[in-house]
């Protein structure tokens, strides 16, 4: 017949069918003719012929089945049939598709995000050899705590042989946004000082113009701009290369603009400024702090490099001038850049993301189990239908192919919906950007992951959809037809599987719910903790005092006093607080107490903050002993200090600290003044980089601005009512005193706090979402299973009711069954949650006794919800009319 005929047969299935019909009919008629000729009546002959012939339908099916090409057409038929079947039970279809979509979509989105953030290599050349060098003390050996000094960098650059390139980049204190003039207009610019080899080390070049060259070392100030700054603040001016941006004290030449795809930490970098031999870094290398980055030579390990750097560092540090207070006990630590970035941008980002990955995998599992369960139940329902079909002559292959069509249809819809969901989630993530991502990382859909999750979903579908059909179509249709309505053979094991699956679902949901509850509680406690200072109704901002107009402490403190007075007269202002920073954070100085012997090494134990008299009032920090600063603490008066409770406890345990003298440095350092302690204030809680979910109360020493005159001031103005309109008024008052000053970082203190909380919030929200999802899936699963169970046992229930069992008992028995499954699942889930607590402990805060209380609450909540879900089908069962059900059989 050949290929052509096979293909044309495909298109003309009906025609072929009709032909076969005609052929068989002709055969029959001829047999009848012969019969009548032999003497039988027409009727007898027909009957005899029919008997011999057998079942015409089966025959036709088998004849057509021999035609290979028609099997394709058969598949299309199966699909149409499957579509019809699914339309008849829309609840099942929608549930299955949604479940699959949620599982696939959520997992794919999370995987893609994790991959974009954690797994993609950095967008620089030789990312695996790029490292960062930190100085660390013994406790934080693996993460690194401190910048190196510029002197150490110079020494390394001269002597080290482990690196192809070494570069310094600084964002330490003292480096902040400052205004520059562009075409006469002031613009805020954060210029990060970098050494010459910075761009070559990363192997990147400028998009417009060039990066630094040797000639630039002679200039005072050379800049390479970031693309974002150039685009947004300079309006994308095409002629920017070669132009100057003028700051207060110099003209900065712009030599190039980087590409849009290039970025480096910190994300807000507006420009990179070359460190020249004439800069502060080179002139006072022991005071200048910088982060050191390097490109290792091929084959050099990080440990070897660290050892070499230590060896170079030790003799150099020994030469350090004693008054600089250099910490000598630190050792350099070499860390891969990729790892460090994720640590920098989000302390626990890594751990959080892995956790989310685990959670979404669980969701996928639950979704598959759910769908599988639905299919299992459905196939049990359809056992009878399958048996009838088998009796009518459908071969095993046909039955299986029809069921497969249904499963594949569901899988296709589920995958398509899942893909749409994943894309939507990724879009939202990109827009909302709840976490600062490592530079250059883009979040795109990982198609491999989509393929994987879809594959898992389809596999689950096929397994649960086909397995019972396979076994079912193997048995004698007779037994199934006769036995329908009673638990038999394979249906018993199927029921057991179903129940186990429901228990598994409940367990997984319980696990997620418990974890989500713990995270939520931690977050809530974290947010609700009293920080010891006021955050509401406080206007915050910063002001930089440029060095050439405010060259010394007295001009600066005079300005501070003038500003305080001016702002104090604003309407609605309760107190004006000024400080060198917003809050005392991060121990940076050592403390000596007069009259006490001290250790030889300088250590970082306290932090210093210069404040004005109104600071404590503005932030609502209570005074515990002694007095606050007042107008008597001016530059001619004896130097005083106020310490906080933590410092008092640490240095004056059980004593009265008032009147003692302390020094922020070594006792024999003649340049530092002795400070008399005038008062003790309450502690303030802040967050450190090392511990995301927790606060520290750093021992702090406060000094009056009038006596120190810091170059940058943070404003904290306590007001009655809203702070929103205050910005323009404050700016006006500021300009009135000095027109060249710019108000920056408005709302900065609160922004810091939100930034601290943003990751825990994001994590908790996501986990909460997962938990809700898992719960919904478990409920759907439970509901589906119970409904199917009731339908199966309709006859059973009918008989019981006819025999006198009352509604309540039926209801109770069904609900009890549901409870049994639920409780088992809850217990298993709780056990799992306890096991994972250890992984979580860094992400928790304020949880006691292994969170037993929270688990119990989660378990109780699940139980209540599942009982509610079980009541609906139970009610329906109890409402069945026994006569109806018995008759329906």
């Amino acid at each position: 017949m050949g290929m052509w005929h096979r293909l044309t047969n495909l298109l003309r299935r009906e025609r072929v069918d009709a032909e076969i019909d005609e052929e068989l009919r002709a055969h029959l008629e001829m047999a009848v003719e012969d019969g009548t000729r032999a003497g039988m009546s027409d009727e007898e002959a027909r009957r005899a012929a029919r008997l011999r012939f057998g079942n015409p339908v089966t025959m036709r099916e088998q004849t057509a089945g021999a035609d290979v090409a028609l099997s394709l057409d058969g598949m299309w038929r199966d699909v149409r049939y499957a579509l019809r079947q699914l339309k008849r039970s829309p609840g099942f279809a929608v549930t299955a598709v949604l479940t699959l979509a949620l599982g696939i979509g959520a997992t794919t989105a999370i995987f893609s995000i994790v991959e974009g953030v954690l797994l993609r290599p950095l967008p620089y050349q030789h990312p695996e050899r790029l490292v960062v060098v930190w100085q660390s003390s013994a406790e934080h050996r693996t993460t690194g705590e401190y910048f190196s000094t510029y002197r150490e960098f110079e020494a390394w650059q001269q002597n080290s042989r482990s690196f192809e390139k070494l570069a310094a980049l600084s964002w330490a204190t003292g480096v902040s946004s400052s205004p520059v003039l562009w075409r006469g207009q002031p613009v805020d610019m954060l210029a990060i000082p970098v050494s010459m080899d910075f761009f070559p080390m990363l192997g990147v070049s400028a998009q417009m113009g060039r990066t630094f060259s040797q000639a630039d070392l002679n200039n005072n100030c050379t800049l390479v701009l970031s693309h974002a700054f150039w685009q947004e603040k300079l309006g994308g001016a095409r002629d920017v290369v070669g132009q100057s941006l003028s700051t207060e004290d110099s003209n900065c030449l712009v030599v190039g603009v980087m590409a849009k795809s290039f970025s480096f930490y910190p994300a807000k970098t507006a420009a990179w400024k070359l460190i020249t031999p004439g800069s502060e870094f080179a002139k006072k290398p022991w005071s200048a702090m910088a982060g050191v980055f390097g490109l290792l030579k091929p084959g050099v390990t990080r440990e070897a490099a660290a050892a070499e750097l230590q060896a170079i560092q030790t003799p150099v540090v020994a030469e350090a001038p004693a008054d600089e207070g250099i910490f000598r006990k630190l050792a350099p630590v070499v860390i891969g850049l990729q790892d460090n970035f994720t640590w920098l941008t989000g302390r626990n980002l890594r751990r959080g993301l892995w956790l989310l990955l685990g959670a979404s995998s669980l969701i996928l599992l639950v979704a598959c189990v759910n769908v599988g369960n639905l299919l299992l139940g459905r196939s049990i329902e359809r056992a009878r239908e399958l048996a009838v079909r088998a009796a009518l002559g459908a071969g095993r292959a046909r039955l299986v192919s029809q069921l497969m069509a249904e499963s594949l249809l569901l899988a296709a819809c589920g995958t398509a919906a899942g893909m749409a969901l994943a894309m939507g989630l990724l879009q939202w993530f990109r827009a909302a950007s709840p976490v600062e991502l490592p530079p250059g990382s883009t979040i795109t859909m990982d198609w491999c992951v989509l393929g994987f999750t879809a594959g898992v979903g389809i596999a689950a579908l096929l397994m649960f959809g086909l397995l019972p059909a396979w076994r079912g179509s193997g048995t004698d249709p007779n037994t199934v037809l006769k036995a329908y309505g009673w638990a038999q053979g394979h249906t018993v094991s199927a029921q057991r599987t179903t129940r186990t699956l429901v228990v598994a679902q409940v367990a997984l949901s319980m696990l997620l719910l418990a974890v989500a509850g713990l995270l939520a509680e931690s977050l809530w406690k974290l947010m609700a903790t009293d920080l010891g200072y006021r955050t509401e109704d406080v206007f915050t901002a910063q002001v930089q005092l440029p060095a050439h107009r405010y060259p010394d402490a007295s001009t600066r403190s005079r300005f501070a006093a003038e500003l305080t007075g001016s702002l104090g007269s604003l309407p609605g202002v309760r107190a004006v607080g000024l400080g060198s920073r917003y809050l005392p954070m991060g121990p940076t100085d050592s403390l000596s107490v007069e009259g006490r012997a001290e250790s030889k090494e300088a250590t970082a134990d306290v932090t210093e903050l210069d404040v004005n008299a109104g600071y404590f009032a503005a932030l609502g920090i209570p005074l515990l002993q002694g007095r606050l600063f007042d107008s008597g603490d001016h530059s001619k008066a004896p130097e005083v200090a106020i310490i906080n409770e933590a410092a008092a406890k640490r240095y004056f345990p059980g004593m009265n600290p008032l009147g003692h003298s302390i020094k922020l440095g070594r006792a024999d350092d003649g340049k530092l003044p002795w400070l008399t302690i005038a008062g003790v204030v309450s502690n303030v809680k802040t967050m450190t980089v090392f511990q995301e979910m927790g606060y520290v109360e750093t021992p702090a020493v406060y000094r009056p601005i009038a006596q120190t005159g810091p170059p940058s001031l943070a404003l904290m103005i306590a007001v009655n009512g809203k702070t929103a309109d205050l910005a323009s008024e404050v700016e006006q008052r500021l300009s009135a005193i000095d027109r060249g000053l710019v108000l920056e970082d408005i709302g900065g203190m609160q922004a810091m706090r939100s930034a601290d909380l943003s990751q825990p919030q994001f994590r908790t929200m996501l986990f909460g979402g997962f938990a809700m999802l898992a719960l919904a899936l478990a409920l759907v699963g439970l509901y589906g299973v119970l409904s199917q169970m009731i339908v199966r046992r309709r006859r059973d229930i009918g008989v019981r009711m006819a025999l006198g069992a009352d509604r309540e008992r039926i209801l109770r028995s069904i609900v009890l069954q549901a409870c049994a499954m639920t409780v088992t699942g809850i217990v298993i889930g709780a056990a799992g949650a306890v096991a994972t607590m250890r992984l979580l402990h860094e992400l928790l805060y304020g949880i006691h006794a292994k969170g037993a209380g929270e688990m119990a609450a989660a378990g109780a909540a699940m139980l209540v919800v599942t009982i509610a879900a079980a009541l609906i089908p139970a009610r329906r069962a109890a409402g069945l009319d026994p006569v109806e059900t018995l008759r329906a059989e």
Partner: protein
């Protein structure tokens, strides 16, 4: 007997019939085989038609619609060249099988 072998035999009988009778419809094939084998071999219509269609797909026989003596439309089959070759092969393997079975039976 396992289905496959039986199927092989049926194919053989049909091919042989068509070799001898040039053109026949399905009913005719059944009658012919019945008659020639003296009612010893009875072909089930249920297996015949699928077999005919299968053999047609394989290209061993060809079909056309024509009128019977009584004026009824029926599908007639005839042997193709490929079919003739297949017939030779089938006959040979059948002979071999018979020889083998007989040898085993004779072994005392």
């Amino acid at each position: 007997m396992p289905r496959y072998e039986l199927q092989g035999s049926l194919d053989l009988l049909v091919l042989k019939t068509l070799a001898q009778r040039e053109k026949l419809h399905g009913y005719g094939i059944v009658l012919h085989i019945q008659r020639v084998s003296d009612e010893l071999v009875c072909v089930e219509e249920g297996s015949l038609y699928p077999a005919l269609h299968r053999m047609e797909q394989s290209g061993w026989i060809a079909s056309e619609w024509a009128l019977t003596e009584t004026g009824r439309r029926a599908k007639y089959y005839r042997l193709t060249a490929a079919g003739r070759k297949q017939l030779e092969k089938a006959e040979e393997s059948f002979e071999q099988m018979v020889k083998g079975v007989r040898a085993v039976l004779r072994y005392a």
